[in-house]
Symmetry: C2
């Protein structure tokens, strides 16, 4: 199975839905032309298809291994990462000041999607490194930035996030790793960190660990956590890696999926290495503000993990589509001389359309959000920057939660399209199903996204973003109704989209009202419905993007510029409306019935 980057759909979304022109016109992006964006997308496609995609299956079969405290990655990963660094892919959307290319997130996000489609396990290394670069760019000292960022941008070093510990899980208040200040201003760290993605590996010269730890006199809970840089090798004054620091891989987890990505238990301060007892670390920013800093990279990583969901969905979709056209089995519904490709069977069509609708819908929403991010940083008008910032921050938990939950459904359908062959590992469909299962968990479970969504994104501003979005979506409904009334080949389809989007917006408004009205005295009922509410927002917002896509396609049809791609997109948009948007009604009812159900929520057997 070969993977092809979905460049055509990406281009369509960027231009027709995510206002690429508007983003490129922003201050700071003057030097980036439309042609440059195309060239980047094409070169990215070429690179990931040739250099990364072949690693997907081999990384699954021969995962990373740990021996004597150090990790050996899967065959080919090291070479591919060198090429990745040399190609400048790590620096795509980072500041030019440190050697990055300074492209908008709107261009960086699709590049990230493609590399994740090619190999999710491989791509976790750059994903975490991105987060470390982003955190140090925001809160590192100038000296720290100079010392660490360029080497990471060049792909010579990589980064990790060290948050949790065995007793802590998602509850970082329980972090216990100790950091003791030394006379020279550095710290010595001791403790155990778990679930550290690419916590050790042999793909780069050095690893920059960002580590949450407590100083001896720190307050309890999350307000006593500080953030430290702990390089695997101390950095010499000339920037070269020096003494081996006291951080070691104790073991790798035996996981359901992403076998190519080493998930390490890291020991800090076991006394091995060249630095004596305790891992040498350097405080980032001020003491006790570690969690706040970590959230900088968490937010970037949450968006990126949402994109991973889209990436895996795309790959599963491509494989299922290819198989469904190749595999001949059974007569056509209307009769046929011999067996037909299973892509002709209605339920296979339903599954393929569902996979495509979910993939393209979540992609459109994610890039719409990337555009908002770029505007929130570059728009000349401060009020507009603030407006886009609220919109982007509202959308991040939706993109993380919704796109990753959908990837479970899409990869599961991908197995189902293959029938019995899907259950056989050699086919490859099962790997996507296994790999996807981590996505709604890491970087904050879907419940944590939903808490963030309800608590910080909906309640805190009293539903301001919600109301603005509902109004925008209703405008789209009106446009659809007008387009449907105008007649034409797709008018029934456009009317269907208008009907279902209108109902979806109504469901979203009803559920939002419930959330806003009951946050005071029925908090448990509200949070009982928080995941369904987040999914509802995702279904409706992605459906809105698909509806906008249908309008764009209808315009092309009217102008005589519609291609096969546009006809395909119209069909997918209609399917989204007919088969995905109805979920909004069910999700809203689930939220609304939470009042009574909430009274029974604690009635659970003791196991």
């Amino acid at each position: 199975m070969t993977y092809r980057a979905p460049v055509q759909d990406i281009r369509f979304v960027l231009r027709e839905l995510a206002d690429l022109d508007g983003v490129l016109a922003l201050p700071g992006f003057e030097e980036i032309s439309d042609d440059l964006v195309d060239a980047v997308l094409e070169e990215n496609a070429r690179f990931v298809e040739q250099a990364i995609a072949p690693l997907n299956r081999s990384g699954d079969l021969s995962g990373a291994t740990c021996s004597d405290g150090e990790v050996t990655t899967s065959p080919g990963f090291r070479q591919a990462f060198i090429e990745f660094g040399q190609g400048g892919w790590q620096g795509l959307q980072h500041d030019q000041e440190w050697g990055g290319q300074g492209l908008p997130k709107l261009v960086g996000a699709p590049a990230s999607e493609n590399i994740n489609s090619a190999s999710l396990a491989f791509s976790l290394c750059p994903l975490l490194t991105d987060g470390v670069i982003e955190a140090l760019t925001a809160v590192g000292s100038h000296e720290q930035q100079l010392r660490y960022i360029p080497a990471m941008l060049e792909g010579r070093w990589t980064g990790t996030m060290n948050l949790t510990e065995p007793q802590a899980g998602s509850d970082l208040a329980q972090v216990a790793t100790r950091a003791v200040r030394q006379d020279d201003g550095s710290y010595r760290l001791a403790g155990q960190k778990i679930f550290i993605t690419y916590g050790d590996h042999d793909m780069a010269e050095n690893i920059v660990h960002l580590v949450l730890a407590r100083t001896p006199d720190a307050p309890k809970g999350v307000k006593g956590i500080s953030l430290f840089i702990v390089p695997k090798f101390l950095v010499n004054d000339d920037g070269s890696p020096g003494k081996r620091n006291d951080v070691w891989c104790a073991s790798l987890e035996h996981k359901l999926g992403i076998h190519g990505s080493p998930t390490a238990v890291l020991l800090y301060g076991s006394g091995k290495g060249d630095v004596g007892e305790g891992a040498v670390g350097y405080l980032v920013g001020e003491e006790n503000r570690g969690l706040e800093y970590m959230f900088i990279m968490m937010n970037a990583a949450r968006y990126a993990v949402g994109v991973q969901g889209i990436a895996l969905s795309e790959r599963a979709l491509q494989q299922a589509t290819a198989y469904a056209h190749e595999r001949k089995q059974g007569q056509a519904l209307e009769g046929s001389a011999g067996p037909v490709a299973i892509a002709n069977h209605p339920d296979v069509q339903r599954m393929l359309h569902t996979m495509r609708a979910l993939t393209e819908g979540s992609r459109a929403l994610a890039y719409f959000a990337a555009s908002a991010y770029d505007k929130s940083r570059h728009h000349p008008d401060e009020a507009e920057r603030a407006r886009y910032k609220s919109l982007y921050e509202y959308l991040v938990p939706v993109i993380k939660g919704f796109s990753t939950e959908l990837s479970l459904e899409v990869t599961s359908l991908g197995v189902q399209v293959h029938g019995g062959m899907g259950f056989i590992e050699e086919t490859g469909a099962a790997q996507y199903y296994r790999d996807a299962r981590i996505l709604p968990i890491y970087e904050g479970t879907t419940a944590i996204q939903a808490n963030d969504f309800v608590g910080r994104k909906v309640l805190r501003d009293g539903g301001a973003v919600v109301k603005a979005l509902a109004a925008e979506m209703r405008t789209t409904v009106a446009q659809l109704e007008k387009a449907a009334d105008a007649g034409g080949a797709d008018s029934q389809g456009l009317a269907l989209i208008a009907r279902r989007l209108a109902a979806g917006v109504q469901a979203y408004e009803n559920a939002s009202k419930f959330v806003l009205a009951n946050a005071g005295d029925k908090l448990r009922a509200v949070f009982l419905g928080s995941v369904p509410y987040l999914m509802l927002a995702g279904v409706v917002h992605a459906g809105w993007q698909m509806a906008r896509a249908a309008l764009a396609c209808a315009q092309h049809a009217n102008a005589g510029t519609a291609t096969g791609f546009h006809k395909q997109k119209m069909a997918t948009s209609i399917f989204y409306a007919a088969q995905i948007l109805p979920r909004a009604e069910a999700l809203a009812l689930t939220v609304l019935e939470g009042g009574v159900a909430g009274d029974y929520a604690a009635v659970l057997p003791e196991a």
Copy 2:
């Protein structure tokens, strides 16, 4: 993680929802007392908890292996199967004439659920053997019955179903294995069969393969397929296994899950063994009627696979519930001094209630169907037998499709409840997620169930069963309304159930009308919605059973006989109504919008 058979819930369903008393009063079950049923359920629980449950993880880690054409099963499987046979578990619901115990399906089904919960991989061997016993009981010659059935009932021999081949998949018209009649009336078979569950193993003295093959002059397509018995060892006149027949395991599949269950490629007629060239086979029934006979065991197996879905859901639920009570993390929503068990967090409660509602709802529906099966065979009134037969046959594809699709959701939630630990294989939750994935595929994919459901169960009788069920469900709605109006602690909950069940029935009726009205000229639109329609039927019928459960609990509350179990069941029923029944609306809309969507169904990219 220890597994405990859910005997209390099984007893409740049998007595309060599935009319155990009525079944035991039927002719043929006179000797079976209520106490005997209890004793069987308790002994079954003891046996599977002690002898089978420990095999679940070890079978996953050390799957079966194939060497020199023969299979060695996981450590412990052989001994457990011997105990299974000696305990009489294979014969539970088979005819006493051949040595079975002649218990109702209503007792056999829960016993089957429990053993599948204990180890799905192990239980596939008795499941397939059950199918062979059922087929030979129905269509074998008396001599064949005498020769093969008692040995299988005693657990000395096992059975397999050999249907598909590499080129055929679900399309049995393409079966190519050849069977040539010999002068002595036997046949010689040659060909390759794939996906043969327990196609070879070392757990029994002999294996009875039922094989679909074509005689040289058979018509093309499914009307030219005959059914043959091919024993692994020819049977001597004294009933002992004799010459090694020419059927060999070529390889085992490397699967996503059920590693303990050998899935074999079988070669017939490769010239090895003691019988010369060609596997010796014996025709079952008449030539060219093989598919019809195979459906006898397919229908039994489809029901049984539906029960497997419930079984896996139950096991995942038990593990998640235990973990959620044990794992302390985060503050309570309303504030707490320290970390609380995650079972206190609203979204964990939502997930656990969802898992429980789906598990108990699908169980109640399956046993309701088992009761109908028993009545269809034993009711003294012929019209009643026919009525129950229609009901049971209507429900089989729903139970197979719905319960197995739900098991994907439940096992996925089971992983999610564990957070990051769920992705680690040692935790065990991931195994259920992997194992479950085959259930909506084997014994007919969900699409095939939906085709059967729409084509043979709804359209063929013009919706007669649908109308009868809708009326019965509306009666339950009226009872709920009355119970809610009577006041009491749960009246709001009962009103919620009434409201949502009424809406669910309406959705079911609307979708049914669409299916019945459009089967003539919009067949593709109908079949595009066939899986959603099947799932809709499942959601509403299981919701009906949960509503009946709530009524029974309310009666216990009024009578002062309510226990903690009844309070729990009431809460689960309310959650089913609040969180699962709303799906009916979405599924119905999906069916109803199929008219327009159907016009675009074939618009798929070429891959």
